[in-house]
């Protein structure tokens, strides 16, 4: 049984870490950002239920968007709350993943 991981991006030159890909590292302006797998454990910092989506997400609502803080490193990330949001609240343990499009998703820790 392995603890789940989520892919972030880390600069091989300066160690700067981002939750999104960038061509150029904002830490050192080098071009050495590489995928890195980090523990996917996080804590839900906030959430909202989007009832009036933007046109790019038309037909998908209502859906929940959350902000979680990674247990390792303490960085905030935003993402769609996947699966059962029932029972999730500020302070809930969550697990981060990426969907097929590479977007971060947030789900209750231990949920399948």
């Amino acid at each position: 049984m392995h603890d789940p991981v989520v892919e972030l991006f880390e600069c091989a030159a300066c160690g700067h870490r981002l939750s999104h890909f960038a061509e150029i590292c904002p830490g050192c302006l080098g071009d050495a950002l590489r995928p890195v797998a980090v523990p996917a454990a996080a804590v839900l910092e906030s959430w909202t239920l989007i009832r009036r989506p933007a046109p790019a997400h038309a037909g998908a609502g209502p859906f929940a968007v959350g902000v979680a803080r990674l247990a390792e490193g303490g960085q905030l990330v935003s993402g769609r709350i996947a699966g059962e949001a029932e029972g999730l609240g500020v302070g809930s343990a969550v697990t981060l993943a990426r969907d097929a499009g590479g977007r971060i998703t947030i789900r209750a820790a231990g949920a399948g």
Partner: protein, 386 residues
């Protein structure tokens, strides 16, 4: 060089059926020029704040169109864009043009036309101000962003529905006395709490309305105004900052670093502190934004914004009157015009001619915040005779 406000103009904020952005901007600019008493031939530069006129109306080159409509062609006419802070940014550029000695007189004008589009199109246009590879891709909207901010504020500071509703009730009430605001209303806390949910816990009355409008300010060197009637209003600070481009760049959801930076710079420029500010027009795009902004500006202690609103300490006559104009909640938010509309309101207060006056006001602040906190301006104005 000391720079002063020479003249102000504004259309009503609300619905202007069929109006083009250039027509509204020209009307507001004409009023500002007439108010200044300065010949338009003396204007050496024009800065125009606008956010999404290309997306929503199909019309760009607004700065040149306005220069043409005012018959001040030949001067540099520049459009600036910083999402909801576009108007404040235009103002700061006009101030810098005069302060640098490049021109004697500069015109800042802001405009947006939004009511011709339906809510879905407007939501999509507003999302242009988000990083659409991260927050936007997650499905976030602006009501959603402030839903997130609210839940975090509630978890940390216990800010509840009634605290946030107090902001709405106050601003809607203030707007009733302001002819430039068309969304003033007498609301109860219960009515605000029962309104249609938009992005939990944000409900309908927590959101500023979709509006059209324009506002303009003429600025000039203070010595150019000797002999003019009425109190001279000086620009004590015109600060602008940038901030993280996405939520992942924030330390937490309770503070926008761009506001903190711009406020710090503005207080330093003016040699003043939060206790010197007699009134503020701040960026209440959503009810809870007023609470967070008031804390970021140092006007209210961290975490106390909700309590201060509920206790009436942000009313006219309170510790720090916030949005006596009705703010964005009662005026609406014609995005590119908002920052200049706020300065227009502060100038009327300091001149002593505001329809909803803060008695004895000598120093006022305007705060204009763009996007997810990616851009901000903070302006401090003061009566020269105070």
């Amino acid at each position: 060089m000391r720079v002063s406000v020479a003249g102000i103009g504004s259309t009503r904020f609300g619905r202007h059926e069929g109006a083009t952005p250039q027509a509204l901007a020209i009307a507001a600019a004409r009023d500002a020029i007439l108010d200044s008493g300065i010949d338009r031939g003396e204007i050496g530069a024009l800065y125009l704040g606008n956010f999404v006129s290309g997306v929503l109306t199909g019309q760009e080159v607004l700065a040149g169109l306005v220069a043409d409509g005012l018959n001040v062609q030949g001067i540099p006419a520049t459009k600036v864009e910083g999402a909801c802070a576009s108007g404040g940014i235009a103002f700061r550029h006009a101030v810098m043009a005069v302060a640098s000695g490049q021109v004697r007189v500069a015109l800042a004008v802001g405009v947006e036309c939004m009511t011709g589009a339906d809510t879905t199109r407007v939501t999509g246009a507003l999302n242009c101000a988000m990083d659409n590879t991260t927050d936007g891709a997650a499905g976030l909207t602006y009501p959603g962003l402030f839903g997130l901010v609210w839940q975090a504020h509630a978890a940390r500071h216990g800010t509840g529905r009634d605290d946030v509703s107090a902001v709405v009730v106050k601003n809607k009430r203030n707007g009733l006395r302001n002819p430039l605001a068309s969304m003033g209303a007498t609301l109860t806390v219960d009515e605000v709490s029962a309104a249609r949910p938009i992005a939990d816990p944000i409900r309908l009355f927590d959101c500023c309305g979709i509006s059209d409008g324009a506002a303009a300010v003429v600025v000039t060197a203070a010595d150019r105004l000797s002999g003019h009637p009425g109190p001279r209003i000086d620009i004590l600070a015109a600060a602008q900052s940038s901030g993280p481009a996405r939520i992942a760049g924030l330390r937490d959801l309770l503070s926008f670093p761009a506001t903190v930076r711009a406020a710090r710079a503005a207080y330093a420029q003016a040699g003043l502190g939060p206790g010197d500010i007699d009134l503020v027009e701040l960026h209440d795009c959503f009810s809870v934004a007023e609470i967070v902004d008031s804390e970021d500006l140092g006007l209210v202690p961290p975490g106390a914004g909700g309590g201060w609103a509920r206790e009436g300490r942000t009313d006219i006559g309170g510790t720090i009157p916030i949005n006596a104009s009705g703010g964005l909640l009662a005026k609406g938010h014609p995005v590119g015009a908002t920052g200049l509309g706020q300065i227009h309101e502060v100038v009327r207060q300091l001149r002593g001619v505001h329809p909803n006056p803060v008695p004895g006001a000598a120093i006022g602040m305007a705060h204009n915040l763009g996007g997810t906190g990616i851009a901000c301006t903070v302006t401090i104005l003061g009566r020269a005779d105070a």
